[in-house]
């Protein structure tokens, strides 16, 4: 979470000689990260107060006017479309050379003296948003009317007139340090890291009054450990003084009226949200902190109505909820311009309850952000005192009730013991006890020595963050400066364990495929029920998300194929052909246990024109990959598997076991995924095979004698498979080393049920160089087998 902090405001609590840069650097290194530094003097350079003297019509545009504007000692013509523009108005003039945000949008633009529809404009008259003040109340199309707000004469620099010579820091506060989401908290940290002096004095105690009593009851103390309230009567609601409005503007808050502004001011200064109710609108003059009733409704200040449940905490009067506790006030009991009696609430709410309520209602606010991080009950009182002091000063009136204070229990600070020796060991730096002690004390911890160790008392503003002894090490190490800790590589013995070998094989596999012209798909682990159903997988068998983000990501993949088909569907329009692979986990549901996560490999080709060739390419790729991981795979013609084309697919076998499938995706699934052309896929159970993967560590000696290669062309039955020819022939003769398929021909020159195949025979002897006659004898023998035993006709 981030806070916009005025450096001037911080310096009200911090005496330091540090420049904003120095402050920011030290803070970033040792405390909270300062993400940007903005010098208002630079930002508002050449921006001055102007006074409109006279308005003239623009000759070229009805909606524009020419404002003769005094910019200090001289009058200039400025073209302006501001609908509220009138003479004698005090306005903000951005002179040529200044930088503004056009219509409050986009980047800063440097202004030049320019022609606007034929009239030269000397700069521009600004709307608040054009200066970066989106929070200033201003009608769309209006310019910023400063009449009555600023005393300064025309020509005065804007920052001088507004007393804004300040530097704004955008600071990221970590979620455990809600105390630093405040000017005081940042000043305190700044004091420690810049060696400045932090001083804070609490506002005086509230002197109780009489006359407007209230009944305050906390029914749900578990969700509200402290509730404080006080009534102030006779106030006058109106705009805040300029200094207050400006501080809020620079902090990113919207000035509304003095009462609301005071609550925001205290929130920003103390990180304690406050709320102001109109006393007159609290029915029964009572406040009840209770759980909402199921179905109870509240119209919140954002003008929306929310339906509540009994898990949610509300502030109610005698009859209805008047605020969602810690999240947002209700419209009914809020302060209005004619409010004269207010009730200030300063409370501590259960952080988890606030967070869950806010998420459930989808309702967010500055208050909720702070409450859900966990605030100290001690803070409520300090903030209330300050709010009352400011109110009496700015809005008048007097305290008209006792200070109500309902507490779950008396506050007692946290205490932990601390061993300085351990801190030194973890840091790897030899610090003296005194140095470390000093750091803790500057941060507000109180230390007492107890036999070699210390007893440390935690200041209230850290009571949600400090949980044990190790936290003191962090405090000391960060303030000492992580950048001051030396750099050294581990010098301990390296571990003896190996990592997961699967990952090495996966990596190798991915490299084999990508180097062979395959593109890696990398999809979400979840798919939609629809995608599973399209592939006839039952969503009931898949691991389902309880709270999916959308209906297309609901179930964990049990197979990679549906998502691959879906991706092909999405790609085929622009990329009609492609070779892809995916090597990822699938998730198999198990009873009473985590699902089994298994790696699968799917690869293949889409946009297929010739199924036989494409099939053989994928088979070839499979063999090449198998070789690279030391596996010997076999194939068996597939039968009775609806997912695959019945005559163009095979099971992939390893050691007699089915480990995958290769073939054409069955037509019905190709259609179900609206894929236009056939897809040949290979689906491999990587998880099973990975255990047997190995690097080849032996070799066959290179043959001593040359081989003779002879081709045999033969016409056979079309459905005679090569595998059966091979196994028949390979053992026919000792000299026959290999039989390979050189060519296949089917076409008009031979019968429809025949094919002509050319076999290439490798003939070799281990003892000698063969003569041509010896080779001829082998060819002769093979040809005879082909004719006699396989129905072939030698051509």
């Amino acid at each position: 979470m981030n806070i916009l902090a005025s450096y001037n405001w911080i310096k009200e609590y911090l005496k330091t000689t540090a420049t904003p840069e120095e402050f920011s650097r030290e803070m970033s290194l040792k405390s909270m990260s300062v993400e940007s530094i903005e010098y208002l003097k630079e930002k508002f350079d050449k921006i001055v107060i102007g006074e409109v003297k006279e308005l003239k019509a623009h000759p070229g545009a009805d909606r524009l006017k020419i404002a003769i504007t005094d910019i200090g000692g001289r009058d200039v013509e400025i073209v302006c479309g501001g609908q509220n523009l009138c003479s004698t108005m005090k306005v903000v003039v951005a002179l040529p050379g200044s930088k503004v945000r056009w219509h409050g949008q986009g980047d800063l633009i440097e202004l030049n003296e320019t022609q606007v529809r034929g009239v030269t404009s000397y700069g521009m008259i600004c709307a608040p948003s054009e200066l970066g003040f989106e929070k200033v109340a201003c009608q769309d199309g209006d310019i910023w009317d400063l009449s009555g707000l600023v005393e300064a004469k025309a020509g005065t620099a804007f920052i001088e007139a507004m007393n804004m010579d300040d530097v704004i820091l955008d600071i990221e506060v970590t979620s455990n340090r809600v105390d630093s989401m405040s000017i005081i908290g940042l000043a305190r940290e700044g004091g420690v890291v810049t060696d400045g002096v932090f001083s804070f004095e609490a506002s005086p105690d509230i002197i109780p009054g009489l006359g407007k009593e209230l009944s305050v009851t906390v029914e749900a103390q578990d969700l509200c450990p402290r509730y404080m309230a006080v009534v102030i009567d006779g106030i006058k609601v109106g705009p805040s003084p300029l200094w207050l409005q400006n501080k809020l503007l620079l902090s990113g808050h919207r000035p509304i009226n003095n009462i609301v502004d005071i609550t925001n001011y205290v929130l920003h200064e103390y990180s304690q949200p406050l709320h102001a109710f109109d006393y007159q609108n609290l029915e029964g003059r009572s406040i009840i902190v209770r759980r909402a009733k199921n179905g109870e409704k509240i119209a919140a200040l954002d003008e929306k109505t929310y339906e509540l449940t009994e898990n949610q905490l509300v502030i109610a009067d005698a009859s209805r909820p008047v605020a969602v506790a810690g999240v947002m006030g209700g419209e009914m009991a809020g302060t209005h311009n004619n409010t004269t009696t207010i009730v200030f609430e300063s409370a501590t709410f259960n952080p988890v309850s606030v967070r869950r309520t806010s998420r459930a209602l989808n309702l967010f606010s500055d208050s909720q952000l702070l409450f859900e991080k966990g605030l100290s009950t001690e803070l409520a009182k300090l903030a209330l005192k300050h709010a009352v002091e400011l109110t009496l000063e700015i809005a008048g009136g007097q305290v008209a009730s006792p200070v109500y204070d309902v507490k779950e229990q008396e506050y007692s600070p946290l205490e932990f013991s601390w061993d300085p020796q351990k801190t030194k060991e973890i840091m790897g730096v030899d610090l003296s006890n005194e140095e470390m002690k000093k750091i803790l004390e500057k941060l507000g911890f109180v230390l007492a020595r107890t036999d070699g160790k210390y007893k440390v008392t935690v200041p209230f503003w850290r009571d949600h963050d400090i949980e044990g002894e190790i936290d003191f090490t962090e405090e000391i190490a960060r303030v000492y400066g992580y950048h001051n800790i030396p750099i050294s590589l581990p010098n301990q013995e390296p571990p003896t364990m190996f990592g997961d070998q699967d990952l090495i094989w996966e990596s190798r596999t991915k490299n084999v495929f990508s180097s062979q012209g395959y593109t890696e798909f990398y999809g979400y682990s979840f798919v939609s029920a629809h995608d599973l159903e399209r592939y006839d997988l039952d969503p009931q068998d898949a691991v389902a998300l309880f709270n999916p983000l959308s209906s297309d990501l609901t179930h964990m993949r049990t197979s990679l194929i549906p998502s691959v088909l879906k991706d092909i569907e999405a790609n085929q329009g622009e990329t009609p052909f492609g070779q892809v692979f995916e090597l990822q986990r699938v998730y198999q549901k198990r009873e009473d246990d985590l699902p089994k996560e298994e790696t699968r490999l799917v690869f293949g080709v889409f946009g297929v024109k010739d199924a036989q060739t494409s099939y053989l390419r994928q088979k070839g790729m499979l063999m090449l990959w198998a070789k690279s991981v030391g596996l010997e795979l076999k194939f068996e013609r597939l039968e009775d598997d609806v997912y695959w084309h019945p005559t163009r697919s095979a099971f992939v076998m390893y050691k007699g076991r089915k480990v995958g499938t290769i073939g054409q995706v069955a037509n019905q699934y190709q259609q179900a995924f609206k894929v236009e052309r056939p897809v040949i896929l290979v689906d491999i159970d990587f998880e099973v095979l990975v255990n047997d993967m190995k690097v080849k560590r032996h070799y066959d000696p290179i043959p001593e004698f040359p081989a003779i290669i002879r081709d045999v062309a033969v016409e056979v039955n079309k459905k005679l498979e090569f595998e059966s020819i091979w196994s028949k022939l390979i053992n026919m003769d000792q000299l026959l080393e290999e039989v390979s398929l050189k060519d296949v021909y089917q076409g008009d020159k031979i019968d429809l049920d025949k094919k002509s195949i050319t076999l290439s025979l490798t003939i070799r002897s281990k003892e000698k160089t063969l003569s041509s006659d010896e080779a001829d004898a082998v060819v002769e023998k093979i040809s005879r087998v082909l004719v006699d035993q396989m129905g072939g006709q030698v051509r």
């Binding site: 300062v34 979620s175 962090e474 590589l489 062979q516 309880f546």
Partner: protein, 355 residues
């Protein structure tokens, strides 16, 4: 006879001059130098000369023969190179025509980044392991010092697994899709194999989908558990990685941060390469970084409660851990500005084939 030899030599030279083909050259050679050629013919007359003349003319004839042969050889090589040039012209190819590329294969960007990151940590003795993505609450949250009501354990931040219309629960709590790779920490410590230098690079899931968040993303987790592990060593390991991954001129900084499972906790920053760590480019605020620094990821000394949850004594063993988003790290290195991060996992080949 000497005169005749001179004439022969001259005639040969003249004839040679006009020859343009190797066939004609060969014919000329046969005519003059062949077994039945003019020179042989002429030399038949030698036998009729006196011994003295024979000796003198014989020597001269030999010189003429050598000369003719040399001329012939010169002409022959002249013709050969002419011929080769001509053949080469006939063998002309267009070297400017576009190359025929083999089918292009591509590793996914995430795969590439994972490999690159892992290689660097391997050099420091870290080994890659894999822990579950679908995980017990115990490993994802409870054992990591995250209280029951921590925001990350809410249903709007983390994906839970269903069991009918309820959240699936089992022996170690609810079942979630792990939102971080930190779930590997206690699992690794539990193995009881010390010392530990582990890297767990895996998928993580969070209920967020917009231009800068994909509901599935990757984290890199490093864990070192041993005796006497210090912040100084964490800085050393991080510095080693950054200099090798991002370049030797990049600086590293540790900044205070907050994580439940580490104490102290840090944010790891590296100096910005766009502005050179100054925070400004041409006087304007650098659009890449915050005041000259880029956030890379989180780190810290493993919280004693986490070490205890894994069954070790935090008084004896300490450790550090770090983790960051793989996608973010890659984008930081490449300077690639991916407008919508979700394109990474859409499998659009027009995107994937660019890498």
């Amino acid at each position: 006879m000497k005169q005749e030899l001179e004439q022969l030599k001259q005639a040969f030279s003249q004839a040679l001059e006009v020859i343009e083909s190797s066939d004609a050259l060969e014919a000329l050679r046969i005519e003059y130098l062949g077994r039945k050629g003019k020179l042989t013919d002429l030399l038949k007359g030698l036998k009729d000369l006196s011994p003295d003349d024979r000796k003198e003319i014989g020597a001269f004839a030999n010189e003429v023969k050598i000369d003719l042969e040399a001329q012939f050889a010169r002409k022959q090589s002249e013709l050969a190179s002419l011929f080769a040039g001509k053949i080469a012209q006939e063998e002309w190819i267009d070297i400017t025509a576009p190359g025929i590329e083999p089918e292009d294969g591509n590793l996914h960007l995430t795969t590439q980044s994972i490999e690159e990151i892992a290689d660097i940590f391997t050099q420091l003795g870290f080994v890659r392991v894999r822990h579950p993505e679908v995980e017990w609450d115990w490993y994802a949250f409870e054992s990591l010092n995250m209280p029951k009501d921590h925001a990350a354990r809410d249903e709007w931040e983390t994906f839970f697994i269903a069991d009918g219309d309820k959240i699936m629960e089992g022996k170690k709590g609810k079942v979630v899709l792990t939102p971080h790779t930190t779930n590997g920490q206690v699992r690794e410590i539990e193995k009881g194999q010390l010392p530990i230098r582990m890297m767990n690079i895996n998928k993580c899931y969070r209920r967020q989908a917009d231009v800068t968040h994909a509901p599935m993303f990757h984290q890199f987790e490093g864990l070192m558990i041993d005796k006497n592990v210090t912040i100084a060593q964490l800085k050393g390991v991080f510095d080693f990685f950054v200099k090798r991954f991002f370049g030797p001129d990049r600086e590293v900084r540790l900044r205070p941060h907050h994580f439940r499972f580490t104490e102290p906790s840090f944010e790891l920053d590296i100096s910005c390469n766009l502005c050179g760590g100054i925070g400004k480019v041409d006087g304007k605020k650098c659009r890449m970084c915050k005041q000259g620094w880029l956030e890379l990821g989180g780190a810290g000394m493993v919280h004693p409660n986490v070490i205890k949850a894994g069954g070790l004594d935090p008084e004896v063993y300490t450790g550090f851990a770090f983790g960051w988003g793989v996608e973010r790290t890659f984008m930081m290195k490449s300077g690639m500005n991916i407008a919508d991060i979700r394109i990474l996992y859409k499998n659009d080949l027009r995107f994937l084939k660019q890498f």
